[in-house]
Each structure stands twice: as structure tokens, then as C-alpha cells.
């Protein structure tokens, strides 16, 4: 199924709206082009949902699910999907997205985004689930590339090939988390720039930027593994990769994510402004140098 694509382009980078900042945003209406929420933070919190409906009047909202598990072999949790749909219908978001991952098994929710083997069987499963989610929500569902620490010996294709084939089969669009590209490439030993170059440009609907935390790889003293904590500023090499992504994909809605050790809202806005500056520079045509001789 190919769904009509939302080509909304905001005036600048947005930030993830987390519960500790909700009252402040309602009270002060800070200048930020758009906000993204995790529906799972609101579905069981009527007071927060009421405040969200207020925020929604003044800001475009994107809904980014962490609980719709498109990679679960047991199928989509329809109860949860219905709850997300109810919220989506009321908020009327500019974008709806989730992750290429699984998090539920046999009625249990493992509170993490767990990796998938990349093979034909998983491709069919995820494609069917994406279509189900898009049908249920009645909107395009952007899929985010995961942060990876390990892969599966049984995978028959790369993550990049898997995503490209998923786009081809379902017509879904992609949320390119530039930090995840950098982190996964570092942890799994591939080139993040070539990964960005391999993504289908027309499918990219949103970009994410988040902080990670380096840890020593216990199995390899002296080597670092990057942990997707969303608890730090965006690392310098990720800004460079983001500039490359903007040059390749053009201006796309970009979001700053910060979910743990959450700083002041002003600190998030500063990161968003930096994203705007990096994107503006990336999109400015470089003057050609005269070559002597």
C-alpha cells in the first residue's frame, strides 16, 4: 500500500517534548517550530494529555511511538494501537513514526527497542505490520533506523538493504536518525557516510539527532562502544554526518531528542538552533574556486 505522503516542512528544528517540560511549555509558549511526543507518555496520563491538547493549539506536533512493535512475531498489540489511534485522531499530528525494532513478546513489554535479524522472513513480517499500522492510523508511518550493538548471524542482508526493500514493498517513509546511523556504524564497523548515501532520498520524511554515551567495550579493552542513551549533547562527528544528510536529503523536519538526564528546555532549544545553523550551512551553495592555470 502506498499512502499519500505528507511533505510538511517546518521553519526549523523541533525538540522532543517530555513530561518534565510540559507545564513550562504550556505556561511560557517558547519559540520552537514544532514538538514531538511519545504517545506512551500520555496515554495513561489524563492530566498530561489535557496539557498536550493545549500545546497542540500553538505547535505542530509529531507523534513518535516507542511501543508499536512492528518487529514482533506475535503481531501488533491491537489494544495499544487503538489507544495510539485515539490520541492521533485528536492531536492530528504532522508526522507519525516508530522504530524498526521489536519490544513485545507474549503479552510482555520489554521497555527497549530490540534488534531484528535482517532476512526475507522478517521483511515480510515487518512489511505486513507496517501496512497494518498505516491502515489502522489512516496515515503514513515513518520508520526509524535502529541503534545497534550487535546483529544476527542469520541475517541475509544489511540493515540498509532491508530498509530500502521495505520502502519498495510498502511505500512507507523513513525517519533517518543520524545519531543512530553514526552509533550503529561505529559499533558494527561500517561506514556511516555510505549508509546515508544508500538511503532512498524520496523516502526520507524526518531526521533525528540525539546524544549517546561512550562506554568501554568490556570484551575489547581500550575500544569504545556507543550507547544510545539520549542523555547528552549531540557529538561533533554526528553534526558533520547531519550536514552530509541534509546535503543529500534536502531540508527535512529535524528533531532533537533528549530523554534521560533531561536538561533545561533552553538547552534543548540551543541544540535545535545549532541544527538549524548546520542545516543552513549545508544547504548554502559553496562558491566555486577559480582554478589557476
Amino acid at each position: 500500500m502506498t499512502m499519500s505522503s505528507n511533505r510538511w516542512v517546518p521553519k526549523g528544528a523541533g525538540v522532543g517534548l517530555r513530561l518534565p517540560h510540559l507545564a513550562e511549555v504550556v505556561a511560557t509558549r517558547p519559540s520552537v517550530p514544532w514538538l514531538e511526543i511519545h504517545p506512551e507518555n500520555f496515554l495513561a496520563n489524563p492530566h498530561a494529555t489535557e496539557l498536550l491538547f493545549e500545546v497542540r493549539r500553538d505547535y505542530p506536533i509529531s507523534v513518535h511511538s516507542v511501543g508499536v512493535s512492528v518487529g514482533s512475531v506475535g503481531g501488533i498489540d491491537h489494544v495499544h494501537l487503538r489507544r495510539v489511534r485515539t490520541l492521533v485522531d485528536i492531536v492530528d499530528p504532522v508526522l507519525v513514526s516508530g522504530h524498526l525494532a521489536w519490544s513485545t513478546h507474549d503479552g510482555e513489554y520489554l521497555n527497549d527497542l530490540l534488534p531484528l535479524p535482517y532476512d526475507e522472513e522478517t521483511l515480510r513480517l515487518v512489511a505486513a505490520h507496517i501496512e497494518e499500522v498505516q491502515d489502522s492510523l489512516g496515515r503514513p508511518y515513518l520508520l526509524e533506523n535502529p541503534s545497534s550493538y550487535f546483529g544476527f548471524d542469520t541475517s541475509t542482508m544489511s540493515e540498509l538493504d532491508f530498509l530500502c526493500e521495505l520502502v519498495r514493498r510498502t511505500g512507507c517513509r523513513l525517519l533517518c536518525d543520524v545519531s543512530n546511523v553514526y552509533l550503529s556504524a561505529h559499533n558494527m564497523g561500517y561506514d556511516p557516510w555510505r549508509y546515508i548515501d544508500g538511503l532512498p532520498v524520496a523516502a526520507i520524511g524526518e531526521l533525528h539527532l540525539g546524544g549517546f554515551t561512550p562506554e568501554e567495550d568490556e570484551a575489547e579493552p581500550g575500544a569504545e562502544i556507543l550507547i544510545d542513551t539520549h542523555a547528552a549533547r549531540i557529538a561533533e562527528p554526528v553534526w558533520q554526518l547531519y550536514a552530509h544528510a541534509v546535503r543529500r536529503f534536502g531540508a527535512k523536519p529535524t528533531l532533537i531528542e533528549w530523554d534521560n538526564d533531561i536538561p533545561s528546555f533552553a538547552a534543548l532549544l540551543a541544540e535545535a538552533r545549532r541544527a538549524d545553523e548546520v542545516a543552513a550551512r549545508a544547504l548554502t551553495p559553496q562558491p566555486r574556486r577559480a582554478v589557476a592555470g
Partner: protein, 253 residues
């Protein structure tokens, strides 16, 4: 299933050889296990700060670690997770050691849940002015969603107030006493009040959607002096009633 076992139980038997990445990909699986445990233990700590104050954070954390291993969430909405933690905590530590622990933690759970409720517009007494008395007795009421009625055999409300006001003395003697508590919360605030047994039974029965007459009968069993007219009027005047269901008046209002 094997990944689930590795994440929840830390048991990586029969899976490490399937993984690739780094020198020891099996060890990298522990990153997800750590995240599962630490994020859920942190969520429990956030929901039960008074219980942590009572027991000490290390004791609460130890129990929470075991709880998340035995009881993974059943929903992606973590705000709904750990309702069973008070009962688990009491069993895990041994009910005899802190006999009021379960009631105290239950009270804290409800305070947290009710604080995020929202009040709906309440019905005024005028709304009932045309009701015949017999119709009124057959009517059931819908109360605000931020109301709960909790009975405890210890004065856990006093203990909670000591925590909330940061006025705990160096030594505090807690004696068993039956308490009937009403907790009402909305939009970030809550009230915690004691009721007498008959009032408690009446209000709890009304909350459970029993008819006013049936709720009154149960309250009269607990206290012959119970005044249903006064109890009903107080309930409405407190802004608790948001709807009615009356068989003689064609259903819900």
C-alpha cells in the same frame, strides 16, 4: 523467546553463537538487559519515593530488581506499570517485618495515579430536584475518576503526611488502627482524608456504581446512625458526582 530470556533474566544460554558484532556480541546483549532493568527500576523508584524513604533506597531497589525480573510490564505505558509492586514488596520482604508496608505502598501508588487524573464538570444538587425519592434510591452515580477508597489496619495516612511534610521525628510509634481513607486527586494535586466506616462504605459502593439505595443499606450495616440524605448531599456538594444512571429515567445523564 531466547532474547526475551536474555533481556529479562540475563540468561544468554543458546543465543550468543547467533549474534555478531564486536569481539563478544553476547556481552553486548547485556546492554539491553541493563537498560531493561535500570529503566524499570528507576520508574518504580519514581513512583514510590515515600516507600523508599520508609525502607531505604537500597532495599527498595533490591525488591524492584526482583519485581522487574518476575513481572515484566504488560503495556508500553510505563505509567501503568507496578500496580502489583506493593503486594510483591510486602511478600518479598516478609509481611511480618513491616506489617503496614503493603498498605503504605498501595496508598502511595494511588496518590501517584490520582494526581494525574482530571476532574470533570460536576453535577449540582439542582440536577436531582425532579427525582422522586424512590427513583433516586434506584439511581447509580458516576463519580470523578480521581477518587479511591482505601481501608488499612494501620494509620498509614499519618505516616504519609510525615513524609510529605518532612516532619518525621527521630522515633515514631505506629500502632495498629483501622482507618478508612478517601483519596481525591486531580491535575497535580490531591487530598487525603479519613472517613468513618459507614461513610466510607457508602462512598465506595457508590464509586462501584451500586445504586444509592444499595450503597445506603451497606452503610447502615456498618453504622445505624448513617444518614443517607446527608451523605448524598455531601457527595454532590463536594463536586464528586459527574453523572447518573437511573432505570426510571431512561439511562445515563
Amino acid at each position: 523467546m531466547r532474547i526475551r530470556r536474555a533481556v529479562v533474566d540475563g540468561n544468554t544460554t543458546g543465543i550468543a553463537f547467533l549474534l555478531i558484532g564486536g569481539r563478544d556480541p553476547g556481552q553486548r546483549l547485556a546492554i539491553h538487559q541493563r537498560h531493561y532493568r535500570s529503566s524499570l527500576v528507576a520508574a518504580i523508584r519514581t513512583k514510590f519515593p515515600a516507600t523508599a524513604w520508609l525502607l531505604g533506597t537500597p532495599v527498595l531497589d533490591e525488591a524492584a530488581q526482583e519485581f522487574v525480573r518476575r513481572h515484566p510490564p504488560s503495556t508500553p505505558c510505563i505509567a501503568e506499570y507496578a500496580e502489583e509492586f506493593p503486594g510483591f514488596l510486602s511478600t518479598y520482604l516478609g509481611a511480618a517485618r513491616v506489617p503496614y508496608l503493603c498498605s503504605f505502598a498501595e496508598l502511595e501508588w494511588h496518590l501517584g495515579r490520582l494526581t494525574i487524573a482530571i476532574d470533570q464538570p460536576a453535577l449540582a444538587l439542582d440536577a436531582f430536584s425532579t427525582f422522586e425519592i424512590r427513583t433516586l434510591m434506584d439511581t447509580s452515580l458516576t463519580l470523578q475518576s480521581g477518587l479511591r477508597y482505601l481501608r488499612a489496619s494501620w494509620p498509614v495516612d499519618d505516616l504519609m503526611k510525615l513524609y510529605l511534610t518532612d516532619t518525621a521525628p527521630a522515633e515514631y510509634r505506629l500502632a495498629p488502627t483501622d482507618v478508612w481513607l478517601e483519596v481525591r486527586g486531580s491535575r497535580g494535586e490531591f487530598h487525603l482524608d479519613r472517613l468513618d466506616a459507614a461513610e466510607f462504605i457508602f462512598r465506595q459502593a457508590v464509586l462501584e456504581r451500586q445504586s444509592i439505595g444499595a450503597a445506603a443499606e451497606r452503610a447502615l450495616d456498618a453504622g445505624t446512625g448513617f444518614d443517607v440524605g446527608r451523605a448524598f448531599t455531601t457527595l454532590v456538594r463536594s463536586g464528586y458526582v459527574i453523572g447518573t444512571t437511573s432505570p426510571d429515567r431512561g439511562g445515563q445523564a
